[in-house]
Subunit: 474 residues, 2 copies
């Protein structure tokens, strides 16, 4: 089926056709509905629900290739066969196979599942498994896939990624732009409490398989229920302080980019809700995040784009326009400079830890977590994603972060602020990109950030934040 | 006192004088005793005990600069002042300051203590603190130092290191060759059971201070008593199996270097003792350690010796002869090659983990630990240290290892084996270096190796091994 002389365009088209074929006929939308969909600024809510019963919304994703190319693989038959296997197991043994028995789980297209492709959005890896010799290992699987399966998970699709995984929405030559991530995040939005429980279940179950024994890169820290409990024991069901209050740092903006009005309002909603719930709010003035962003970016580009170029040259596809200027092939960074960069990163980590510890100087209690926007704008409009600046500091620090929804942009409340004079460059481009009508209804979130290896704490605190927001709204 | 025009020889001599001055007059040996010392092949045992009472042996080290330059700093006054402080605290509060109240602890000269020098054997860092601007931070201290002090430790010296810390005995221009490490290890030898308890106490206490909060490079794994207990519950006081037996891999030699006869015998003693105690012994046939040694060495030399050269050029001292050929200044490795090397290291780790897991295929129980020699020879004769090959695989894998003493070389038992034909090169050089008369009485040890982050398990298993050896000898 594949051929060395096949153009990258033809190869990508073949894959798109294959993905579409994976969607059962009866699940596809009619031409008329597709046209109607193209006119929506928000495909979720009433529009999509007009096609579905409640249960279906929660179990499957429903988009067709034309309106929402959020998938790189869809394998319903494979999933149904697996579900039958699990049913048979339950019938025979009278018990589930594991903690995730029958749970449908989607993985992004970086994970190796069965004999399906792993493309990571590179056309050159269609009919292949990125980095793996598929001839030799047709069913090579990622450790996480094996662990989830051993717990009873059912895989049914692989979700889309952008080329290089370095822009804020899936965009590559496999499927063009996708609004998939927005939709998926909205599922979480609809039922966030349940989402937290699911996250906890999956984390706890996967860690119960001791993944560090098969993958030495995994640190052997089991799921620490006591870390969750130590937070939960300090609040009631409404997130109100019921003991020593939680202490939050609030990072209102970074030094380069002013958040759009809906994001400012979102942060204020959270701060007020937490204060009303009896928690402590302090301003968060850490070492300049710009330094982290600079170090992080240098790491990304250190290899002179040799890795990315090797992947795209397999098919001859070009770099997507958003990344073209950054991923031209060039000399890699000299090693001594790279080692110095590593030291700069460690130094930033140390200074950040010192700052964090210093917040406990007065009362003996350092902040439990800090709150910041995940981006300077509400849910991204495809093509308007300018910078990962609000997230890459977290990447560099390896901190534990949980993003959660707060409100939606509202053109009546979030009017253009003419008092703010943006700096020339990125700040101005971002500031000018805010248009109340376009953003109206877009989700606004915050991220709860705990230290490195504090996933349980971050999750428990995110629950508290959400409960407090909910309580403040009622 | 220091001057930019001072020669490195003069600077080193000044430091040696200073170290000597730190030793109280009444503790120094006479000229006659020093001459007698120079004739001994073993300074421990009856020779040194002729000068000391039992208690003194355990509390202080006693060498003078001339016979045993094992120290870079000795600060008895500082230690006594600290001890008085601790006494006063105890008097006032009726309780110790922490779990290590009053415990004298020596640190190697890589740690920053008070306003003392940190030279790491570089003459250029005399009157300085390696890598730290001493003008700005005269009392900059390492995190570990602060943590140990907060627990009540008393610092009294800093032990010698070789230039670059990459040869097997302290050898640099600060103090020439040292036999110090041999003597220190013998203290442990004399009373190894107590040594294990001390290690456990120090680890547990230091981890109780949550060092990961101040140093993000520390992984937040507390001391896991349950890991020790899970081993201890499987044996009795003689190290005999009292439940599911322990399972040991035995690594008899690596692919390049045959161990000397005393080391071979040491391994056999351990294997027989463990079998007699009811444990399971299997051969250990992992991925070739030579691969790990090669990767490890490339990492060491990747920077083209720029780091080492920067340190020695501060004073103009030369590289010590043992390292000269390896640390000439040259072009650093290109970054892509370095990144590939990192991948090779991860691949080796993965393959090693796969092998380890495979030892459980038949009976469901992978080996608990494996046993290997720490070197292909007994305790090293200064100048005869040829290769770190038996240890650097452990460094690359980040495995948890505990070295422990087994026996002593014995010229009557460990005769030259003329049947073994060494390979040309390192194997032959090592093999030819074995002389029964010279090695007679030298300590022979093994190392107990557990996986990454399994320090507690390694320590508990080392106790079992030692108990089994002792039981077999009586």
């Amino acid at each position: 089926m594949s051929s060395n002389t096949e153009s990258w365009q033809a190869k990508a088209q073949r894959k798109r056709d294959q993905i579409l074929q994976g969607i059962p006929e009866q699940w596809r939308l009619s031409r008329a509905d597709l046209d109607r969909a193209a006119l929506q600024s928000d495909l979720t809510g009433s529009f999509i629900q007009s096609f579905l019963d409640q249960e279906t919304i929660e179990i499957t994703s429903l988009e067709t290739n034309e309106i929402n190319p959020c998938l790189h693989e869809l394998f319903i038959e494979y999933a149904l066969d697996r579900a039958k296997e699990l049913d048979a197991f339950f019938e025979k043994h009278g018990k589930p196979t594991g903690a995730l028995h029958g749970l449908p789980i989607s993985l992004k297209d970086q994970f190796h599942v069965g004999d399906f492709d792993t493309t990571m959005a590179y056309v050159g890896w269609i009919d292949g498994k990125l980095g793996i010799d598929k001839e030799k290992s047709p069913v090579f699987e990622s450790d996480l896939v094996k662990e989830l399966r051993s717990l009873g998970a059912v895989f049914y699709c692989k979700t889309a990624l952008p080329q290089t995984v370095l822009v804020g929405f899936p965009y590559g030559h496999l499927n063009g732009r996708s609004q998939g991530l927005t939709f998926i995040s909205l599922l979480a939005w609809r039922n966030n409490q349940q989402h937290h429980w699911r996250l906890e279940l999956v984390f706890r179950s996967v860690l119960s398989t001791k993944p560090w024994l098969s993958d030495p890169a995994v640190v052997p820290i089991p799921w620490r229920t006591e870390e969750l409990e130590s937070i939960r024991s300090r609040v009631n069901a409404k997130g109100q302080s019921a003991g020593r209050p939680l202490k939050f740092g609030f990072f209102w903006r970074n030094s380069t980019l002013e958040p759009h009005p809906p994001v400012r309002r979102g942060l204020k909603i959270v701060a007020e809700a937490l204060q009303r719930a009896g928690h402590i709010i302090v301003d968060w003035n850490p070492p300049d995040h710009k330094v982290a962003e600079h170090i992080h970016a240098q790491f990304l580009y250190a290899d002179g784009a040799h890795d990315v170029q090797a992947h795209i040259s397999r098919s001859g596809e070009p770099i997507i326009p958003n990344l073209k200027s950054r991923f031209g092939l060039r000399e890699p960074m000299p090693l001594l400079q790279y080692q110095d960069l590593t030291m700069q990163g460690l130094d930033f980590e140390n200074r950040y830890a010192d700052y964090w510890n210093s917040t406990g100087t007065e009362d003996g209690h350092a902040v439990d977590a800090f709150i910041m926007a995940p981006a300077p704008h509400a849910a991204v409009i495809p093509g308007k994603y300018l910078t990962p600046g609000y997230t890459e500091v977290i990447n560099l620090l390896n901190y534990s972060a949980v993003a959660l929804p707060v409100t939606r942009a509202d053109k009546a409340l979030d009017v253009v602020d003419t008092d703010y004079i943006p700096s020339e460059g990125l700040d101005k481009r971002n500031w000018d990109a805010y248009e109340p009508d376009i953003y109206h209804g877009a989700p606004v979130g915050v991220q709860v950030v705990a230290r490195k290896f504090e996933e349980e704490k971050a999750l428990a605190i995110a629950e508290v934040v959400q409960a407090a927001i909910r309580a403040a709204q009622t």
